[in-house]
Symmetry: C2
Subunit: 338 residues, 2 copies
Amino acid sequence: MSEDILMTEAGVMELAQRFLTGQGLAAPHAAAMARALTRAQRDGGLSHGLQRLPGTRDTIGHPEFNKAARPKVEQLTPAVVQVDADYGFSIYGTELGLPALRRSAGQLGIAFMAVRNGFHSTALWPVVEDLAEAGLVGLSMNPTHDWVAPAGGSRPVFGTNPIAFAWPRPDQKPYVFDFATTAASRADIAMHRQAGQQVPPGWGLDPEGQATTDPAAILAGAMLPFGAHKGSAIATMIELMAGPMIGDRTSHSSARFDAGHQAAPCHGELIIALNPGLLGGAGDVENAERMLNAISGQGARLPGSRRHALRARHDREGIPVRKALYERILQLMADAPG
Amino acid sequence: MSEDILMTEAGVMELAQRFLTGQGLAAPHAAAMARALTRAQRDGGLSHGLQRLPGTRDTIGHPEFNKAARPKVEQLTPAVVQVDADYGFSIYGTELGLPALRRSAGQLGIAFMAVRNGFHSTALWPVVEDLAEAGLVGLSMNPTHDWVAPAGGSRPVFGTNPIAFAWPRPDQKPYVFDFATTAASRADIAMHRQAGQQVPPGWGLDPEGQATTDPAAILAGAMLPFGAHKGSAIATMIELMAGPMIGDRTSHSSARFDAGHQAAPCHGELIIALNPGLLGGAGDVENAERMLNAISGQGARLPGSRRHALRARHDREGIPVRKALYERILQLMADAPG
């Protein structure tokens, strides 16, 4: 572990914002991206925190990326919101569409938002967690790039296709999960390669489609879904619903669109918001709490709980940022032209 | 394998209907149940086919079961349909609500149906497959009884919580999956016990919460979710959405409601229907087909495809029914009072 420095939330936010505007990214986009990275860093979600900042240069440098994108929010039906992110980062478009999504779900009980044509590099959980903080149930998913072979197959078809879900709880943080539908994350496999370690069986295939524990072979070959054919089916559903169903790219076409620029994947994102108050049960708070407490009461960790505990700690003590990363970010800013 | 007899679809349907009405089940309920069992038998889904018929006696014998239930369909909002199954089998209530669900999804792009207070013993795939045959995307889920411990835990909390999804395809059967969110089905574990075989590791825990490969210990203890903590999270989502969110039982309260009668679980069911024509992409048929063909083209089986192949074969050759089961059903009918 490298040494950490402690920063305030405002300090992390300001650093990220300055880095992004320094690359010519329009102010509202820089603010939305900085907010998302800061929230991840604050919750100890390092892979989606400031760590993503250096890579934004590759995304912003993609020939199709629009630094001054003007997302367009359209209400396609009373239950369906569509945001065209206009080839900027998708998070700003998502933020612009959320009020309409919340309003529609509030009125109808269920509503749907598709965010299209956005470069996506932020975690899904902040958006669904916010929906749950507002009393709604949130479900979100998206494709990525085709790195993942179907169960029983040998060649990549799916992305790492994350799915996130949040459920409001009284007097405490929502129940939230957010995970890739792969046996392990791409970052985890890359870390094993860097450390010269083999990965456990079941994580992936080599370029010939054979099972392997060599992380380099998996990164050149194919990752595998979590949960064998059941996880593979969930990944297929995400690919279809957050891709063709909303008229946006599959993980395969998103990877082709990238054309080797190493940008964040450009694709669609789907968010469904549900209002328990209109679905007949008002969320039956007591019964839901009994179920969730039966999980945590036997020592099985609720997803999200570690993140919420770290947030509370970092709010007291400051947000840790790896010193090497901090210095790299400053250096990149000093080196930047203009 | 015991010997099979071959029956026509009409013959299977008539047998099931006669068995059910013979127990005093009102005609429309008997017809709906018989249709569902016949569809499963026709597709080779034996566990949800005629095999379920003998057990319907336990369900119909539950003191809360309503043989002449009159399900009530209510449109709670333009996007939300609620069916109260009135303590009959849920499938008839579901059938009554589907036209409203299809209409709402057709108009708004997304719609939601909750079926409450139904005894549930039919597979989920027939309903979502029908939605997909009508050009919609279908997603369905329900709790069952609390047989499944959370990943990292030791005591049962979840049901086997199935999830089903269907996607329309041009000129061929829809893409459909329908699976329990457990490492293995309860029927599979029971079959191992009957055959005196150990089960593979990872299927369950004994009553002390310790990992075991003894099927009897798992049936007395706890099953485990598929896909470790990720499958556990999906099971939690299903428990919350198809339980408290719609004001119906969790798997825990459903098991208590059964009170040892061995009836089919009485709980809620959730169906979401989406209309790709109103979601911005019209289902982008070409891109979706390319993705699905990339799966099947490398020899990875698409879920549902085996079932559809068996259907085609059984439509030509007749529907196989195990002779021992057929004779047992006839015997039970002969023995029945009245």
